[in-house]
Symmetry: C2
């Protein structure tokens, strides 16, 4: 049976935390046809609230160290403020959104990250995504809006990277749908010349990826991002797109596929 | 066709905001058989966070004046912190909970309360409950946990009284289920002697209600509470129970019915 199309879109905190960019995103997201899921960040708002409460934000390798007080902050900001603001905004545009964390309907269960060199605190590594109930909601026309939070199945919420939420959700939904995973990016796509914003590489296959890495065209933080994209594709996601948030309902960006 | 039983339980903030009482509630709520919905408050946590952020909590007639900053606080506290803490706690007990505000799946749309003597700010008066998608979730074994927040359909969240959320949700679900609405109370039920905690009136019908009011046995704030209960029953709710939170999975308390 041919699977129906579904688009999972991940947007960073910056876009959803400022009114002008959020409004544009809501409009662009509303214009996407077919089944869809939005995954959002919210780090700037969390850092701001933490500062107002006198809680220091400690980051290691770009990840937030999440002690008990910080877990309360991210639960409030990601699961409450940012998530419900997006949901209410989408409802106003006729999109029947539902805000979810991984705890809701046990959609994503994680395990608290083991302490190695760094103790990240209440940070979750995803163990299991339950796509069935999520799929039922989507088929009824409901649009999940997912906050970067999961739970451990023992009563605690866990702070979880939004890229990971998007990737793991896309993989799990790929059993039920023909999934395109879109990572919104600050550039038009993966660039062949970092000084030329228009030098977007239209398609990257595993073979091209090897070639670009060997030639030094793709380097730095883009390498793990693309490795994650290929891992999603290996797990059944049809394609991954890296593009500008303002271009999510259009063709464009870099398409990563087999 | 005989409708299946569903219990809507409303608990105040105090119970869900303290770890010991919350744990007991989660256990008692888990023990309730059949379909169920939990509606919670969270006012103390909201007042606490507001104070930490230097926002004054203004109450009129027991209702919070909700300016733009206070709306952010209640959205964070009710929709994020308190709601997700309950959801994660129920998941740990094997209850497949989902946290919802009125914005999620457009479950409860409100209208911002018109300014008369008092400007309550971003406070919602319920206009419409959409029970269909909620009913579908419930029939799949999902247990809604509802925060005292709604939305206006124009992009704004609205602060909404938890008793009202419970009452209106119970009424709407009464079209699909045989609904018992339980209001958790600090006493064992409606008392015939306010100085005797064991003087619980077991059953109140409209006729008994008139009689008790005339005799001065029922007075003060209990009158509007019972009027609301009869309004729920008039709208199709089978019975309303006023009882201790610790007694929600047992028989007991005051039963209000036709």
């Amino acid at each position: 049976m041919k699977k129906e199309k579904l688009t999972v879109i991940k947007v960073g905190g910056k876009i959803v935390e400022e009114e002008a960019t959020l409004n544009q995103l809501l409009q662009d997201f509303s214009a996407i046809e077919g089944y869809k899921v939005l995954v959002h960040g919210g780090g700037r708002s969390a850092t701001k609230l933490a500062a107002q409460l006198g809680i220091e934000s400690k980051m290691v390798n770009g990840r937030r160290i999440t002690d008990a007080e910080t877990l309360k902050v991210v639960t409030m900001v990601y699961g409450g403020l940012v998530n419900k603001n997006i949901v209410a905004g989408l409802q106003a545009k006729g999109v029947n959104a539902i805000g979810l964390t991984g705890a809701d309907m046990n959609v994503i269960r994680s395990v608290k990250r083991p302490v190695k060199d760094v103790d990240y605190g209440f940070v979750g590594d995803v163990e299991k995504v339950n796509a069935e109930l999520l799929g039922n909601l989507i088929r009824q026309g409901v649009v999940p809006v997912m906050a970067p939070l999961t739970h451990d199945g023992k009563g605690s919420m866990l702070n979880t990277n939004a890229d990971t939420i998007a990737g793991e959700t896309a993989k799990a939904l790929a059993e039920l749908f023909d999934v395109t995973l879109v990572f919104c990016f600050e550039k038009k796509g993966v660039l062949s010349d970092e000084n030329d914003d228009d030098s977007v590489i239209p398609v990257i296959t595993p073979e091209l990826f090897q070639e670009y890495v060997q030639k030094g065209i793709i380097q730095g933080g883009m390498i793990p991002k693309l490795e994650n994209s290929f891992s999603a594709i290996d797990a059944g996601v049809s394609q991954v797109v890296i593009t500008l948030a303002s271009a999510i309902h259009q063709q464009g960006g870099t398409v990563i596929k087999k």
